[in-house]
């Protein structure tokens, strides 16, 4: 898996565990729902700013998020 695919898998997992829809997350971070979907599918090389926004919205620290990304290996 690429780093984008691992990131996307964790994003989806964390988002669903919070009971937050793609639409609601997209609204909260002022991004488009289709963008969130493409990140979750590992199709986007997401930027630091958007990583930070999304983790804040999901109330997970960057380090905890990336620990989950590493655990996918």
């Amino acid at each position: 898996m690429t780093i984008e695919e691992k990131f996307g898998a964790v994003l989806k997992s964390v988002r669903v565990s919070r009971g937050i829809s793609q639409e609601k997350l997209a609204f909260n971070v002022d991004l488009h729902r289709t963008y969130i979907g493409s990140v979750e599918r590992g199709e986007r090389n997401i930027s630091l700013k958007n990583i930070n926004l999304i983790c804040s919205a999901l109330e997970i620290s960057l380090s905890d998020f990336f620990k989950e990304v590493e655990n996918i290996d």
Copy 2:
């Protein structure tokens, strides 16, 4: 500090602690030295792929790197 500035400060700190020059890091990750410099100054919204490349080259896990970013707060 913005997330880019915090990221850049940690990058510089980790790189220097490894005794690696901007030139050597840039060469190892196939990016330009001036790009590394601008990331360290917090001027770039670096992408996930480049974050991953740079952390690998510096032999630090993404979660450990971002733990240091969080500790700047």
